[in-house]
Symmetry: C2
Subunit: 110 residues, 2 copies
């Protein structure tokens, strides 16, 4: 019943797009694969986030025909989005490092 704790959705989304352009559904599948199924991001979570990233100019969307004949909406990480990714990565390292410090009983010597 407990909510699954996926909080850094933006970081994860930006990170997925760093390697290659992807469409939403693909990102969900890829995220599950790369995280060994620790993350099971819902469509109701990802799509609004992608729309937000697009509005901020971090990603650009374009439609492309899939080999299946079906049209997909691909997202591309812009230069601005690359900067945002670097910032979010730094924030994550700071955050996770701090949690680990606390778990170890605190960073004694500074």
């Amino acid at each position: 019943m407990k909510k699954q704790a996926i909080e850094h959705t933006r970081l994860l989304a930006l990170s997925l797009l760093a390697g290659e352009d992807m469409y939403g559904y693909q990102m969900i599948v890829e995220l599950a694969r790369r995280s060994n199924h620790t993350f099971d991001m819902k469509e109701g979570t990802l799509y609004p986030v992608l729309h937000g990233l697009e509005q901020e100019g971090f990603v650009e969307a374009y439609r492309k025909q899939a080999p299946t004949g079906r049209e997909r909406k691909y997202y591309h990480l812009t230069r601005k989005g690359q900067g945002a990714l670097r910032e979010e990565e730094a924030a994550w390292r700071r955050y996770s490092g701090a949690v680990n410090d606390v778990l170890r009983g605190g960073a004694e010597a500074v």
Copy 2:
């Protein structure tokens, strides 16, 4: 204006109490110190969480006179709380490990 992302409040609170009994205000100060001021937990966040942990039997509260003469409300981690802490720690390692896997481009070989 952005909300500070402290999500694992329970984990942090339980972890602080693993070493010694503490009172709320002290926990906030200690958390800031141990995290090198990465975490600045608000009272409006901590106190409701402590009350919840108490209701679940993870911590026990008792009042004690401080050297200043003032009464403080100390929290003690119960055996049940120690178990909860171990579980939360494991969840954190799983979660942070998965984020790092995704940032690295995915855990290729499983």
